[in-house]
């Protein structure tokens, strides 16, 4: 996968996670803010994956 795609997906996930966390905490809806934490985890995995995506494109 292209690293730009990974970064865009990660940025969108982070934006979504902020909304989920703030709304979930405000309304004491634990599944919402927990989903927000999962979204951050996924965003960080995508960001980390860019390291190898980057190396792959340079080899190409």
């Amino acid at each position: 996968m292209r690293k730009e795609t990974l970064f865009i997906a990660a940025a969108l996930l982070l934006a979504a996670s902020l909304a989920l966390i703030v709304y979930g905490l405000q309304n004491e809806t634990s599944w919402l803010w927990r989903t927000g934490l999962w979204a951050i985890l996924l965003a960080m995995i995508l960001s980390l994956a860019s390291h190898w995506s980057d190396q792959g494109s340079r080899k190409d």
Binding site: E4, F7, I8, L14, L18, I21, L37, S47, H51, D54
Partner: protein
């Protein structure tokens, strides 16, 4: 004081793990920040869950605040990159390079002017990395290698962090700790911060050309440091919010006087080019050749190719136009009280509930966390400057058909996207470490193993650690000033002196702030690889930190 987790070797090492992971991956393995920071974040979260009894609810509060803080910083990075591309695609940086060399013939003086004087001036009115957003492209336009174009202004403006941004760090410090005598602490802090100020000038010259540059730059460094550090020392105890602004403004004026001095009008064939790119060196020889031709002297070296991208017909004033707009907007929005008052009516902040850990580390609920004022935020000022610059350059026919606004935005996005996740990860680390109590344990660990004299000497390194973790002098003081005050009272040390050392350390630590380094590296096109910048900043930070320690100890023994 807030409760703290137990300080043991295990909890201290667990808290140090995220910092170690980050430094090893960035400096040793040379990973990009967007890849290294998520692993460091994993370390911080693992330590919080396993050793700090941090519930998921508290992690969610920390995560929400961290992402919100990231938006605050990213709103500088994206507009800064847009402004950079607006100027770059019009060929403004090539015009700046040639124009400045005519206006200020001494290249070392120009580097000192950008990396030290201008960077500090910008820092004195607007923080959040704005100084790097402006000076890094200017240094690259001068032919400086990207790594040094980030490093030099980071070191150059570090001293101006404590009383810069119109005294934000000082005002924040006053809100978190009872200060026994504000005049005394301000005097101590301003005296200690003079050390990184002088060391900044020396370091920039050293990187520029070792002993050659120290000899050549010596008079300017002494004069500028006397003005910046001296005026700050005199003014900050009286007017802490604008003392640094006045000191840096005076040093900008002093530059023009130094430039008129014959000492900075001489040419030296042996001038080193350690921090310059190949095209920067060629441009230097070409300009010398032109100058010597005018004086009917044999050229020093032939120059086969021209310098960086430049279109004919661009004057120096036109090249600098967007930055002049930025300066006018910043002064108007931030320094004229009625305008500032109106613009700051509109504030945006997010609500967060209280959060606690199993060890009793508490964070109170807030209605509007880190509320920022979009109309005076540097990001808005940068966007307006970029728009003005684009319209002006477009009107003068300096763009090709392909240079549409969408194309310029796309160029900015290429660099800004990796920085977006990286900044978010860095600020998430900072908030997780703060809300779990890891940061407190790091500082308490140092305090517990120290005698009073050793603690006095180590107190500025706690400030450095705070800036390293949070990328902010303000955040470092908010985080550690209460702890430092408590430790000082327990050790029967002067609270004023220890808080001053904390403040000076917070300023010094900004030379290695990963967030700022990432912003600069992104603008410089280094793809978030900040390891090379941090590796070069580390010796300066340690040496300057040790000197601040020595001065702190000197005051301690004299009291």
């Amino acid at each position: 004081m807030n409760a703290a987790p137990p300080v043991t070797s295990l909890t201290w090492l667990a808290a140090f793990l995220p910092i170690l992971v980050l430094l090893v991956l960035l400096v040793w393995r040379r990973w990009s920040t967007s890849a290294a920071a998520p692993l460091a974040l994993a370390g911080a979260v693992a330590a919080a869950l396993l050793f700090y009894r941090t519930p998921l609810h508290t992690l969610a509060v920390a995560a929400g605040k961290g992402i919100w803080d990231a938006i605050f910083v990213l709103y500088v990075i994206w507009p800064a990159l847009i402004l950079y591309n607006v100027a770059h695609e019009a060929g403004a940086f090539g015009a700046m390079q040639r124009g400045l060399r005519h206006l200020i013939p001494d290249r070392l003086l120009v580097v000192l002017a950008f990396a030290w004087v201008l960077a500090s001036f910008i820092q004195s009115i607007a923080g959040f990395g704005t100084n790097l957003a402006v000076t890094t492209p200017l240094l690259i336009g001068l032919g400086v290698q990207p790594v040094y174009a980030v490093l030099l202004p980071m070191i150059g403006a570090a001293w101006a962090n404590m009383f810069g941004s119109l005294g934000t760090a000082w005002l924040a410090t006053q809100t978190v700790v009872d200060i026994p005598d504000t005049t005394v602490i301000l005097r101590y802090a301003a005296a200690l911060i003079w050390v990184p100020n002088l060391m900044a000038g020396i370091a920039i010259a050293w990187f520029y050309g070792k002993t050659w540059a120290l000899k050549r730059g010596g008079p300017a460094i002494v004069a500028l440091s006397l003005i910046q550090g001296g005026l700050q020392f005199l003014l900050v105890p009286i007017i802490p919010t604008i003392g640094t602004f006045l000191a840096t403004s005076a040093s900008l004026g002093a530059l023009f006087i130094l430039n008129r001095w014959g000492f900075y009008r001489q040419q030296d064939r042996d001038e080193p080019h350690l921090i310059f790119t190949e095209s920067g060196k060629r441009a230097f020889y070409e300009e010398n050749k032109e100058r010597e031709a005018k004086l009917s002297v044999k050229p020093t070296e032939p120059s086969p190719t021209p310098g960086p991208r430049e279109r004919p017909g661009m004057s120096l004033a036109l090249a600098f136009a967007p930055y002049a707009v930025l300066a006018v907007l910043a002064v108007t929005a931030l320094l004229i009280p009625p305008v500032n008052h109106i613009l700051e009516q509109f504030r945006v902040g997010l609500p967060f509930p209280d959060a606690t850990t199993g060890f009793g580390v508490e964070q109170k609920a807030v209605d509007a966390y880190a509320a920022f004022t979009p109309l005076t935020h540097p990001g808005t000022l940068l966007l307006l400057s970029a728009t003005a610059g684009y319209l002006l350059y477009r009107k003068r026919g300096l763009y090709g058909k392909e240079d549409t606004p969408a194309a310029l935005l796309s160029l900015a996005a290429e660099d800004a996207l990796p920085a977006t996740t990286a900044i978010a990860a860095l600020l998430l680390i900072s908030k997780v470490m703060d809300h779990s109590g890891e940061t407190t344990v790091l500082a308490l660990g140092i305090a517990q193993v120290s005698s009073p004299a050793v603690y006095a000497g180590a107190s500025d390194f706690i400030g450095i650690l705070g800036s390293l973790v949070t990328s902010s002098n303000t955040a470092s003081n908010v985080l550690f000033a209460p702890l430092q005050a408590t430790a000082a009272r327990a050790q029967e040390l002067s609270v004023n002196l220890i808080l001053a050392a904390q403040s000076a350390g917070g300023a010094v630590g900004n030379a290695m702030a990963p967030g700022d380094a990432l912003l600069g590296a992104t603008v410089a096109g280094l793809s978030g690889r900040i390891g090379a910048v941090l590796a070069r900043a580390l010796p300066w930070t340690l040496i300057t930190g040790a000197l601040v320690s020595a001065f702190t100890l000197g005051i301690y023994f004299l009291m």
